[in-house]
């Protein structure tokens, strides 16, 4: 990135350092002068929030690991010891358990933002796929973390989810025994989940570095979906993006604190305060809220193998999004039809989440099936077709133009879209 001011070390030490390891220059070019589109809205602050949440989870998690005992007879009590006898242990534990929820909330907002503004499109496909990989890693890490307190829901969630692999033809049963380290969920299962729950966050850190690298190569998308064309279209990362990100991060922390300090068990399930008991199955086994949409898709399909495949496909299909969406226009601002289908998609995802918390019976199953069909049709039918038939609104010539004209583009004279206005 030639053009913007290069890093001039201010101190003798940094000058010495810069000739050996130019880390000052890297930080300067990536987080100070790095040009960001001037029209980014607050939906663009969730990347920073996610980085913060990852930090919170790792710091609280490392300290919790110092006090936790990964052994089936002691795991539940050791978590309670943390809550009672460790100084501010209750705070660490509630930060960590609610932090997972906040992490997923921010990730989902971040993804919906990417979908609304077409941030996955050329040249950001790899950036998007890295994000899908991050989601997968988060799902695995969160699931294994939920097992560690070894309550009833921990145990039975582990049993239900690992059992999904038994649907694989021929090798299913062997794979499940291999995952368990035995013939049922037990101490070896808890130990390996603990080990992986500690390992995967650092894998996430690695992929986050790649994600940010890819972001800095392709540059940020923006609400117009039109690439920056001149210096006028951008502002420096610092102070503009840093202050905006900091403000919304503080607001996000207010929400986080609300849950941690006032309703710390709101997002949990009471059954997880009952020690794991392989002899008693809870009445309803439900996963954490952030898995509910996928759980609803799993249960919407009457065949176990097909259900598991649909569950896997519902996440993996996201990786193909850059090619399933055939539209040349990125932002939903200029895609009147896509915008409507997008909001229906959001409603369907939230609806699937609600259905995932309901028993799989009666109308719930029917609605879950309809929603599942829409979920997949959105990717496989609506997006490919829409790109071909949709008449998009004229794009602004540049970001500055769209900002200076208060969002009213003065682009090529195109006929007004049919439908509402015609």
């Amino acid at each position: 990135m030639s053009g913007h001011p290069t890093y001039q070390p201010q101190s003798a030490f940094m000058r010495w350092m810069e000739r050996r390891l130019p880390i000052g220059g890297l930080v300067y070019s990536s987080f100070v002068v790095y040009p960001t589109p001037r029209n980014l809205n607050y939906w663009w602050t969730f990347g920073g929030i996610l980085a913060f949440m990852l930090g919170v989870q790792i710091v609280t998690g490392v300290v919790l690991a110092m006090h936790y005992t990964p052994q089936v007879d002691y795991a539940f009590d050791s978590v309670e010891q943390i809550m009672r006898d460790v100084n501010y242990g209750w705070l660490l534990r509630y930060l960590h358990s609610n932090g997972a929820s906040m992490f997923f909330l921010a990730a989902y907002i971040h993804m919906f933002r990417g979908m609304y503004y077409g941030s996955y499109k050329e040249p950001r496909e790899v950036l998007w796929i890295l994000g899908v990989i991050l989601l997968l890693l988060m799902i695995m890490t969160g699931f294994m973390g939920y097992v560690l307190p070894w309550g009833q829901m921990s145990f039975w969630a582990a049993t239900v989810i690992t059992n999904l692999f038994s649907a694989i033809p021929l090798m299913g049963e062997s794979i499940v025994s291999w995952l368990w380290g035995g013939y049922a969920v037990g101490n070896p299962t808890l130990n390996r989940f603990y080990s992986l729950h500690y390992l995967l966050p650092f894998v996430i850190v690695g992929v986050v570095v790649l994600h940010i690298w890819a972001l800095h190569v392709a540059g940020q998308n923006n609400p117009t979906g039109v690439e920056p064309k001149s210096e006028e279209d951008t502002v420096a990362f610092t102070p503009y993006a840093t202050i905006k990100d900091s403000f919304l991060l503080a607001v996000f922390c207010i929400l986080f604190a609300w849950f941690v300090f006032y309703i710390p068990n709101f997002l949990g399930h009471p059954d997880n305060y009952i020690p794991a008991n392989p002899a008693v199955t809870p009445m309803h086994i439900v996963p954490e809220w952030y898995y509910l949409p996928f759980y609803a898709i799993l249960r919407a399909i009457p065949n176990k193998l097909l259900g598991v495949m649909a569950l896997a496909a519902s996440i993996l299909i996201l990786a193909f999004l850059p090619w399933l969406d055939t539209s040349k226009v990125r932002s939903a601002r200029y895609r009147p039809l896509y915008r409507q289908f997008f909001w229906v998609f959001v409603i369907v995802c939230v609806g699937l989440g609600w259905l995932g918390s309901k028993p799989p019976e009666g109308n719930y199953v029917l609605i879950a099936r309809i929603f599942t069909v829409y979920y997949f049709a959105f990717f496989l039918v609506i997006l490919p077709v829409l790109g071909k038939i949709e008449r998009t609104k004229p794009l602004p010539n540049s970001i500055s133009e769209s900002v200076l004209r208060e969002g009213k583009p003065i682009g090529a004279q195109a006929p007004p879209p049919a439908g509402a206005k015609a």
């Binding site: 053009g3 920056p228 210096e231 207010i254 300090f261 039809l337 028993p359």
Partner: protein, 297 residues
Amino acid sequence: MGPAMAVARTILALAVSLAALAAPALAQEHEAPAPPMNKWSFAGPFGKYDRAQLQRGLKVYREVCQVCHGLKLVAFRTLADPGGPGFTVAQATAIAAEYQVKGEPDDQGEVKDRAGRLADTFPPPFPNDQAARARYNAVPPDLSVIAKARGYERGFPRWVGDMFTQYQEQGVDYLTALMRGYRDAPPAGVTLPAGSFYNEYFPGHAIAMPPPLTDKRVDYTDGAPMTVEQYAKDVSAFLMWTAEPHLEARKRVGMQVFIFLIVLSGLLYFTKKKVWHDVELHPEKLKPRPPSEYPRG
């Protein structure tokens, strides 16, 4: 365009009507009535335990519940901790000494019972689950975290409101209702398994625990009414404390964090406004920055 737009509208309309379709399914779910909501001193952002209530609750626990139910996670020393029942260390020591706990091996390797000390936890009522089952045909659960391990479905839209009202007392409301929910006989047409009792609030209604409380069963010396209702509330409040011994500290620190974050957000907001002022309102005043390699790529 027209047809596709219509499709989108139709899908939206369909989604709304499906939600309406789900309403009857929702109604079928509740077989047990929702426990009544009580007023608790520890509810809300400034909630604090009522010391006298916790002490009365401990008395009810010791005179009624502890025959069958343990508190294995609760150490006697915590009875004197701040934010708890407010006993002095001497009082907590005296309470501990009234219990016999399993001692440490002596020089001969013999393990004898000894009087409890502050560092000990409440001793379990049964040596193991089998012993409990042999005697009661069921294992009475440990009560240390029972107030968080029980609850009831709040249902939509109440659970959404709970996020704002900070209603976190499902557990204690359920426990209170359970202790008062016994009926002398099951409703007509309902037969109970042998050795169980009919309880309105227990899932499935057949509970193995006999009605634990009767009026005047526990002597209160502070003038509180000696009724099943009061006993049930007091012991529920006590169990909330055993489940959440740092609740007061949590809410106090929470308020400090909240004030800090709100002030910080305000300062950051105005700083952001100042930093962005020229970009948003007077772009012409921005100093031209050196040209660079736009467009990217």
